[in-house]
Structures are given as C-alpha cells and as structure tokens.
C-alpha cells in the first residue's frame, strides 16, 4: 500500500525553504484577492470599517478552512461566497441595511465623484451584490445564483430591477445599462 498519504492542506514545514514558501503563499493570496473581497464587502456595507472587518474575517476563515483548492477559480469562488456569508452574519447588519449614511469614508476612498458608483450605492443591498458580481467580477447569472444561494430567476429579476433603477437615475451618459444577461 505504500507510504503515500493523501494530500492535506496541512503542509509539513520541515525546512526553512518550506517555511518561506508558506509565507509567500499568504502574501500571494492577499495580493490577488484582498481588493476583490474588500470591494464586494464595501459594495454592501458602504463604509471602510465594516468592510475591513469582513476582510479580516474572510481571510482568517480562509486560513482555518482546511480546503484544498484545485484551481484559482475555485479559490476565488470560495472567497466570494465566504465574503457574502460573512457579511450576513455580522451582528451590525450593515449588510442588510438599506439606508446608511454615505459617510466621509466614501468620499476619501474616491478622489472624485462618480455618479455611477453613487447610483449603485443607492440601490437596495441585495441588488448591489449582484450588480457588483455581474459588472465588476463578471460572473454569469448561473454562477451568481450559486454564489449567493439563490435561484437563477431571483438573480435575473434582481438584475433587471437594478438596471431599471439605474437607468432612471443615470439618464444620459450611462443609460446603456443593458438588458444583456
């Protein structure tokens, strides 16, 4: 039967080299995905404090999860789902709050106004998530349904309504928010 043991996430750091490799992997993951997680969280909670909270929670959970990722898409989907779930379990429910003050942090995050971003921020919370996943992360409706544990029809209808609301707000330059699904 041999001494071959199944792959685990628990790499054995036997040498200094291994140790450095492990540390680099962490930097790598953060470099690749910290902004993604932060932006998705921010789209929901609209302030940097809660977004930071979610960011930390997600990556610590990532370290503890014991999942072996077989490719980057898998890792990415895991992180997105964790961000959404993490946001939901936050006690402050900034995640669910429909109205929240567009506080100063938003102004400092972006040097200049963009009416597009503000328009999206005024959408109801669940719509912001699907709009972000669709337009920024460029996931399909089916993938978004999977990530958010909703039915495809629900996602389609959220996107459709979001577009309708955005078109109303963004007359002129940006009303090309299209029907393409």
């Amino acid at each position: 039967m041999g001494t071959e043991s199944p792959r685990t996430n628990d790499s054995v750091c036997l040498t200094n080299e291994d140790f450095v490799k492990e540390e680099t992997k962490i930097e790598d993951v953060l470099n690749r995905y910290s902004a993604m997680v932060y932006r998705l969280a921010f789209a929901r909670v609209k302030n940097c404090y809660d977004a930071d909270d979610i960011l930390q929670n997600v990556f610590l959970r990532y370290m503890r999860s014991g999942t072996v990722f077989h490719d980057e898409e898998h890792r990415k989907a895991w992180l997105i789902r964790a961000t959404i779930n993490c946001g939901k379990s936050l006690l402050t429910s900034a995640w669910f709050r429909r109205i929240s003050p567009m506080d100063d942090s938003l102004y400092t995050e972006m040097k200049e106004h963009s009416e597009v971003y503000y328009a999206v921020m005024e959408l109801p919370p669940k719509y912001r998530t699907v709009v972000h996943l669709f337009y920024f992360e460029e996931y399909s409706v089916a993938e978004i349904a999977n990530l958010t544990s909703q039915k495809e029809a629900t996602v389609k209808s959220q996107l459709h309504r979001a577009r309708g609301l955005l078109r109303e707000k963004l007359k002129g330059d940006f009303d090309d928010v299209s029907e393409q699904l």
Partner: protein, 652 residues
C-alpha cells in the same frame, strides 16, 4: 459606458496597506498554530483506501491513489435506499476529493427555479370565500396552498415589504396599519442573521418562511456544529389574534436553501436543497455531512433510514423534504432526503415528484462521444403529513421546470425537451481541442404510472425547438415550443397509453404562462417576437379558443408597450379572475389591470405607475368591490366599478 465607469470607480476602492500588513501577520500566526487534526483523518483514509483498492482495482488512477470507499455508490444505475451514515460519509468524501483532483464533480446541478410560470395544473385560483368575496394567491393546485409575500382574510392584509412585516386593517377604501415589525426583529435568534421570504395565513396564525445563515468561525479544533454553506430554512409561527402585536409561538426548520413549500390544511411541507461545499467532514459527526432538522435552535441529523442516494449522484447535495404540523410545531411529522439529486419539484396534495437531470454518454468512436440528457424521477406519496418511501423512474430529455410535471387520475405526465450533440476531440498532447456538432433537439410527452414506469408517449415533437410553457388541464395537455414561431400544442391525454396531438397552433412569439380561463378559453401571458428573427418585441396577452381542440385558435391578442414582467418568473405575480373578468399583473414600472370579454377582448381598466422605487414584488388582490395594489411603498385601492384610485396608504 456603465460597466466601464463602475469598474473604474471600483478600482479606486481598496483596503489600506496597514490593514493588509496586519492581516498578513495574523494569517501567518494562524498557519503556525494550526493543529495537526487532519493527520488523524489521513490515517483513517489510508486504512479505508486499502479496502477500496481491492474493490476499485479496475478503476484507472490519475496522479495518485484515488480513495473510493464511496466509488461503488457513485456510478449506480439505480437509486440506493439502504444507506448508512458511513456510506454517505464515503460518498461525500470521495466527491470532495474528486473535485479537488480533477474537477470531476459538481457541487450543485443548478436548481431550476420554482415559480417559472408556465402554469400546469388544475385551476386553483381563488381560495377566498366566506362572507367577504376576496381573491387568494394564484395557486397551481386547488386545496394546496403556496406561500406568498401577501395574504388576506378579507379583513386584514398581511404582507412583507422589503423591510417589514405589515398588518393592515382594510375596510373598503379605508386602510389602517395595525402593526409593522422589521424583518430583522422577526428573524428568530437574530445573532444568526437571516431573511424572511414569504408567508402563510391560517386563521389566527401567521407562518413565516425564511432562511437563516450561520457561520461558525472554525476555531481550529473539531467543528462543534455542522455549517456546510450555513443556510437553513425555517418556518416561524406567530399568533396574530391581536393584530397590533404578533406573538412568537415557535419555529421548526431544516438544512438547505428554500426550494419550495406547500400547505395542505395545517400541514406544512418544506423542500430544501442542502449543498455541501468543501468544509471538512468527520465520519463520526454526521452533523457535518448530513442535513439537520431543527426545532427552535435544537438540531438533529436526518436518520440514515430516511435518506436514499439517487442513481449516479451528480453533486454533493441533498433534497430534504419534511412535513410539519403547524398547530403543534415541535419536530417534523415525517422527513425524507435524497442525496446527489437536482431540484425540480412538482407537488400536489398527494404526491411529490423530484426530478434531476443526468447526462448520457455513448461512445461513437475513439474521438467522438454522443451526449444527451435524461431525467431521473423520484416520487413520494404524501398522506396527512406522512411521507412514504421513494419510488424511482426516469424519462429521456430534460424538464423546463416544475410545471412540466403533473398528475391526474393516477397518472403522471411529463413534457421534456431532448437535446443531444456529438463531441469530437482532437489534437495532440500539446494542443487539445473539442467541438460540438449535430445538435438535435426535439420534444416529448410521457405518461407514467404510479410506479413511474412509462405507459404512453409522444416523441419527436417540434424538432429543433424547446418547450417554453406547459399546462395540464385534466384530460388535455397544452404546451408551447418556440424557435421563431410558437406552436401551441393541444394533446389528448384521456387514454394514458396513447396520448395524441390534437392540434398545433402556430403564432409569432410565445406564451410563458398558461392559465385556463373558462370552458373553451385558455389565457396565455408571454412575449411577442419577430417571425423572421425571433427577436422579442414586448409583452403579449393571448386568449386561445379551445372549444374545438383539433382547431385551437388565438381568439384575441394584445401587444403591450411594456417589455418585462415578474409574471415570466413567478405565477403568483398575476391575478386571473374569470369570475370578475379581470387579469392584473405588474409590467415594467407599472401595475396593470385588464378586463376580458368575448366581445371586446382585452381592455385596460387601470394602470398604476409605481413611481416610487420599489424593491420587492407587486401584488394585486380584491376584497368585495375594492381592488388593492400592494408594493413595498404602500397600498393603493381602486373601486372595481370605475377603477378610479380611491386612496393610498404609504408604509413609511
């Protein structure tokens, strides 16, 4: 352009460096302190591997030994009913590993949404009655209630807005809010967070259906509670005899996200899909790989004797079906679960059918494989809250939605679209390609007995097209297929062994929702499309004359300026009342009320522009001579004589 601008804005949003440095530090700490828990699991897996190698010796290995105690269950032709927790653990573990090794497994075969409104059943319609004449939820099956965001008993309207549950006392044009409770407060044990999606009303009791999300931070030791993807579905029961102050009575629930619920009398049936992703599982902790049933906060895993494994499981997911007595909600009356299955469900008062797709492969030659779809069926009989054991069957092709299935007079009828294609692989080790060709599609109808064996069929209907809507009405079945032009087929089902096509009416566009209006009339709600290109033009109302089934005609039609409606996805969004001669539904940003008469066809009675931004669904209902239009913004009431707007109530 919107997308470019949104992307550019987002680029400017990012976490600051200090936060990231600190996070990196914490993550490295985690890494160093992580206990060697997995080592123990590895030893067990290695031992199991010895056993598996003996059984699985003929299986080709990839990079390293594939551990498959669950292998024998993965490729079965038939469903397995006598499974133990151990079997399930092996299955889940194997499938998790397969996903990690070569992506050969799925998590989730894609739940077909409930509520795609190609209405398939005996007309349910109005459940209202009593002294007041009021409309009810647009039901699919008479006597089988479905949850919705709004219910009325003729005196009060109970509804869910985006933020709250509101209870409004209505008396003609007078409306008064009795209570308004935020959804957050209603979610029991708010430390989990959650959301209520819809409700039922039974006399003085309100039954709220919602989902809860729970995410335990894995604290580095053995998991104390199953989390899976952390979703569970619950029914929370409130006593509303005092309308100003609803009182919480109790809650029951089960793992998984909400697929469907039904109520027959006081018995609530809940069907969920519980998917296991990549979280660690432990053989001795069934809670980590088996769905849970909850009474309030206490949970217990579904008994292994109530779980069966579908033929050739497609994903690490369970369908969980439970029945609860809402007058005494403690634990389920009965509970069953199927592993590996998809999630299209048909339910009436006596039966529940679960369908899942399967891929069939036929090797044509070394490089060519023909793929086609089939549907596995599982049937449970329902009897006063008791759920029977499963019966298994299958049909070729795949279903459009739950509406593609129906039961009548002891027979099940199923409409499928059969699509197949040939995949050709080529190239060498440095450049592999594959292409699909010879796409074929056709449609079929199957009649099955109670044992799910096929007794009658019509195949090869409308080749090259797909089914868009289906509706069964006793001995007749209607369905619509579409490519550019929509044939509406009428099928005679009176002889189960020999269903026959009676007529095929070809018209441009297609119906997405069919609803019998009266004897000899069938209402269709759908879209108009260009005959040449198939491009969709806008919404369309049709009334089909079905008096002579061999010669069905489109008696009236009306093209609307509006282009999108919730009705296409949710049959509960439309009110069709032949008794009052009205058809009402939301479209784009309005709510529309039409009348229908044989002489004049469709005429618009009223259009309410919902200029407020509305976030949730819109519904219309009537009580006596008043028509109420509900949205998250408030209630508007119209006179049913003149259809003038009488008054409005804002929920602020």
């Amino acid at each position: 352009m919107f997308q470019n601008s949104y992307k550019a804005d987002n680029e400017k949003i990012k976490p600051d460096d200090a936060t990231l440095k600190h996070l990196a530090y914490k993550m490295k700490q985690e890494k160093r302190e992580k206990p060697r828990k997995r080592r123990i699991v590895s030893a067990v897996a290695v031992a199991a591997a010895c056993v598996a190698v003996v059984f699985g010796a003929s299986y080709v290995l990839s990079n390293f030994i594939r551990f498959e105690p669950g292998y024998t269950l993965l490729n079965t032709e038939e469903a397995q009913t006598d499974v133990t927790y151990d079997d399930l653990y092996n299955l889940v573990e194997t499938m998790q590993r397969n996903r990690q090794i070569d992506d050969s497994g799925n998590y989730f075969d894609g739940a077909v949404p409930e509520g795609s409104s190609s209405g398939a059943w005996d007309m349910g319609g109005d459940m209202g009655g009593g002294e007041a004449d009021f409309s009810g939820t647009n039901l699919q099956v008479e006597g089988v209630d479905e949850a919705d965001i709004i219910k009325t008993d003729g005196k009060y309207i109970y509804a869910l807005t985006v933020d709250d549950l509101v209870i409004v006392e209505v008396n003609g044009a007078e409306m008064k809010v009795q209570s308004k409770i935020s959804r957050e407060k209603l979610s029991v044990n708010a430390h989990f967070g959650g959301e209520i999606t819809e409700l039922y009303l039974r006399g003085d009791r309100l039954i709220l259906i919602g989902q809860k999300y729970r995410y335990n931070v894995y604290d580095g030791t053995v998991m104390s509670e199953a989390t899976a993807d952390g979703v569970s579905t619950h029914a929370m029961i409130y006593d509303v005899s005092d309308h100003t102050s609803p009182r919480f009575v109790g809650s029951v629930g089960q793992s998984g996200f909400h697929l469907s619920t039904r109520m027959v009398g006081d018995v609530l049936y809940v069907v969920t899909n519980y998917t296991i992703y990549d979280q660690p599982i432990r053989r001795d902790t069934p809670e980590s790989y088996v769905p849970m049933l909850y009474n309030g906060e206490d949970g217990a895993p579904v008994e292994a004797s109530e779980i069966c494994v579908s033929a050739a499981p497609q994903g690490t997911q369970y369908i969980v079906l439970s029945s609860y007595d809402t007058t005494n909600p403690e634990k389920p009356l009965s509970s069953k679960s199927v592993f590996g299955c998809g999630s299209t469900i048909y339910a009436n008062a006596e039966n529940l059918l679960i369908a899942s797709w399967k891929m069939q492969e036929t090797k044509l030659s070394e490089r060519e494989t023909r793929y086609s779809y089939g549907t596995n069926l599982i049937r449970y009989a329902l009897d006063n809250g008791q759920i029977s054991d499963a019966v298994f069957g299958s049909v070729p092709g795949s279903l459009l939605s739950q509406f593609s299935m129906d039961e009548h007079n002891g027979y099940f009828r199923v409409v499928t679209t059969n699509e197949s294609y040939t995949e050709t692989k080529g190239g060498d080790s440095s450049d592999v390609w594959s292409s699909a060709s010879n796409n074929d599609s056709s449609n079929a109808l199957y009649v099955l007995g109670q044992d799910l064996k096929i007794v009658g069929e019509i195949e090869n209907l409308a080749p090259g097209e797909r089914v868009y809507s289906v509706r069964f009405d006793g001995d007749v079945g209607y369905f619509v297929t579409f490519r550019q032009v929509d044939p509406l087929f009428a099928v005679d089902l009176s002889n189960a062994a020999a269903p026959t096509v009676l007529s095929a009416l070809k018209i441009p566009g297609f119906s997405e929702y069919l609803h019998p209006y009266s004897d000899g009339l069938l209402f269709g709600f759908g879209k108009d499309a260009d005959e040449e290109t198939g491009a969709v033009n806008g919404l369309k109302l049709s009334m089909f004359n079905t008096a002579d089934l061999q010669n069905v005609t489109e008696q009236h039609k009306l093209l609307l300026e509006h282009s999108w409606s919730d009705v296409s996805y949710n049959h509960k969004a439309i009110l069709v009342s032949p008794q009052r001669g009205i058809i009402a539904f939301p479209a784009d940003n309005s709510y529309l009320i039409y009348s229908y008469s044989a002489e004049k066809g469709f005429e618009k009675l009223a259009e309410l522009r919902l200029s407020e931004m509305y976030y949730n669904d819109t519904r219309g209902l009537y009580i006596n001579d008043y028509f109420y239009v509900f949205s998250s913004a408030g209630l508007n009431v119209f006179s049913m004589d003149s259809f003038e707007l009488l008054s409005s109530l804002q929920f602020e």
